[in-house]
């Protein structure tokens, strides 16, 4: 058994009287595929924001490769190997798809401060970006401004940008959100092609996608972990059914 690459211990956060994270514990090991599900308002995106540093926790500890990261700035967490995608696209819509990835590669490679004598390095970034687009099966959109891309391709681009950071832990916040059901398989195929060694936490409302992708599922309700286990166990769990479907009157 390998050691966890990401460990969360007793993570809590309150917005006033509202508890959005209640003493959450979670371990992710290299290669893990964990789904995080829960009804609307369960605190799933807040949990990702706590992990990435966008929101500061009130209590608890986040360990990345054994080092506490809860006090360091979001960009430093990224450099240590923690990447995310967003539920709602935050792409650079006026830039080309290739440039969107290339700026991430430049950041990862330490070229992003370069103002002079940069042609060779930027060329390398563009070439790698194009190669990543090809890996995602969307090589043809390299020159296209993002605002002109179909939504499904924008979602794939989000994942490609996160992968450009060469993360060890990837947090996917509803990668299938807004994608028509007829195209959902494209997202699923893209997730299947992600490198096996990366630990992935998938937040998703599309249960079909989660249950196909995840090897373990964590159910979050009102900011607290209700249960976690193998997808088959979760699917059969009456408590989880009750959360999603309501309880019968008997």
């Amino acid at each position: 058994m390998s050691d966890p690459i990401l460990s969360v211990r007793g993570l809590s956060k309150n917005f006033g009287a509202l508890a959005v994270a209640q003493s959450i514990d979670l371990d992710l090991k290299p290669g893990d595929r964990v789904g995080l599900i829960g009804p609307n308002g369960a605190g799933k995106t807040t949990f990702v924001n706590l992990l990435t540093g966008v929101v500061k926790p009130d209590e608890g500890q986040i360990l990345l490769k054994g080092q506490p990261i809860q006090s360091i700035r979001p960009e430093l967490r990224v450099r240590r190997g923690l990447a995310r995608t967003h539920q709602i696209n935050t792409l650079l819509v006026e830039s080309s798809a290739r440039d969107n990835i290339a700026v991430a590669i430049a950041e990862r490679s330490g070229y992003a401060w370069r103002m002079l004598n940069y042609k060779k390095q930027w060329r390398e970034c563009l070439d790698e970006a194009q190669s990543m687009l090809a890996d995602m099966g969307i090589a043809a959109i390299g020159d296209t401004e993002v605002r002109h891309l179909p939504y499904g391709e924008q979602r794939l681009l989000e994942i490609a940008i996160a992968m450009a950071l060469k993360p060890q832990v990837l947090l996917l916040d509803e990668p299938g959100a807004g994608v028509p059901s007829t195209e959902a398989h494209v997202i699923h195929d893209a997730l299947d092609r992600l490198p096996a060694e990366i630990a992935i936490l998938l937040i998703e409302h599309d249960m079909d996608l989660v249950f196909k992708f995840a090897k373990e599922i964590v159910v979050l309700v009102q900011g607290a972990v209700l249960t976690q286990g193998h997808p088959d166990e979760i699917a059969a769990d009456p408590e989880v059914r009750a959360v999603y479907l309501g309880r019968s009157r008997d």
Partner: protein, 338 residues
């Protein structure tokens, strides 16, 4: 439906100065400026003013156009640079290049310090802070008569010949070429910066700070860096103003000056280095021409132009140049955007 995934080889990266057609367009403003020098004998002072405004507008474009730093206080940097150059020439040395370097470095330092203080904020809060800094500098310059001359302006400047050879003559020959040379140096620097990975990341911050944080960008530091460079450029423009007119007035630090430079930028087109050239030159020459007809007519004309541009030309007047160039490129069969 999604496009069919098709793997193609990487397309060519952004063109810099390559390509004959592109080079022609790059040379155009500089050739026009040189032609102006030889043909507009009585208008060189006006031409110098236009060049200085181009540089100042370009500095605002770096901050506002490329980085999305919406400021009302850019005149603080321009005026500070002008006073630095002026005071330095009175109390230390009249050498223009040394004075300009000092003005540029000190204004960059001012931009760095104020940037660190205020770039944490955004929107209206940031706008008010830039206004506050401008007001404080204005009031300081107004009060410190012993240093700045107060509302009489800074007088008694004496500028040595450029490179020890070229006197600043009454007709403005030296000042014109001196300003043009400094503008060219800053243009090359700005062009390099906006096309660099740094420039791309700054443009990314303008589009989506959230995205840039998610890819590990130190957003605040990068904004401080571009604001410092923009400040240095504005300080240079102020220094040129002091050297070319041998006078610095409080108007250099006024809110009106901040407004003028913003109008020039919007007229010409933001996020396009050449937009500054078009906006500033048109503003200065329309103002000069129409002011001779009627002292207030120029404001009416500029106001009308601004409304027309905002309503009908999203990319500013430079988009007309783009259209002309694209049309010509189609005729020639090999065009490209600068």
């Amino acid at each position: 439906m999604m496009n069919d995934p098709k793997n193609t080889a990487p397309a060519a990266g952004p063109q810099m100065l390559g390509g004959k057609f592109s080079l022609t367009w790059h040379l155009l403003p500089w050739v026009l400026a040189i032609i102006f020098y030889f043909t507009a004998e009585g208008y060189l002072s006006l031409g110098t003013q236009a060049i200085i405004w181009v540089l100042f507008t370009m500095s605002l474009d770096l901050a506002l156009g490329y980085a999305g730093i919406v400021t009302l206080g850019h005149a603080a940097l321009f005026g500070f640079g002008a006073y630095c150059a002026g005071i330095f020439s009175i109390h230390v040395t009249g050498d223009p290049l040394t004075g300009l370097l000092v003005a540029t470095v000190l204004t960059a330092a001012l931009g760095f310090v104020t940037g660190i203080l205020i770039l944490h904020t955004t929107g209206v809060t940031f706008l008010m802070l830039t206004l506050a800094i401008l007001s404080m500098l204005f009031e300081f310059a107004n009060s410190a008569k012993w240093l700045t001359g107060g509302d009489d302006g800074l007088q008694g400047m004496s500028i040595d010949p450029l490179l020890g050879v070229f006197e600043f003559d009454f007709f403005g020959h030296t000042a014109y070429l001196y300003s043009l040379a400094i503008l060219f140096i800053w243009f090359v620097i700005a062009w390099q910066i906006v096309h660099s990975p740094f420039g791309k990341s700054v443009d990314g911050i303008r589009q989506s700070p959230k995205r840039m944080r998610a890819i590990g960008t130190p957003v605040w530091w990068r904004l401080v860096a571009i604001y410092t460079i923009s400040s240095a450029m504005a300080g240079s423009a102020g220094g040129l103003l002091a050297h070319s007119t041998q006078f610095v007035g409080l108007s250099a630090l006024s809110l009106f000056t901040s407004g003028i430079v913003a109008v020039m930028l919007i007229l010409g087109g933001t996020k396009r280095i050449y937009g500054a050239f078009i906006g500033a030159v048109i503003y200065v020459f329309v103002q000069d021409y129409t002011a001779k007809l009627n002292p207030h007519l120029w404001e009416f004309i500029i106001g009308g132009l601004l409304i027309a541009v905002v309503l009908f030309l999203e990319g500013g007047l430079i988009s007309l140049v783009d259209k002309a160039r694209d049309g010509l490129a189609r005729l020639v069969g090999k065009g490209e955007r600068s």
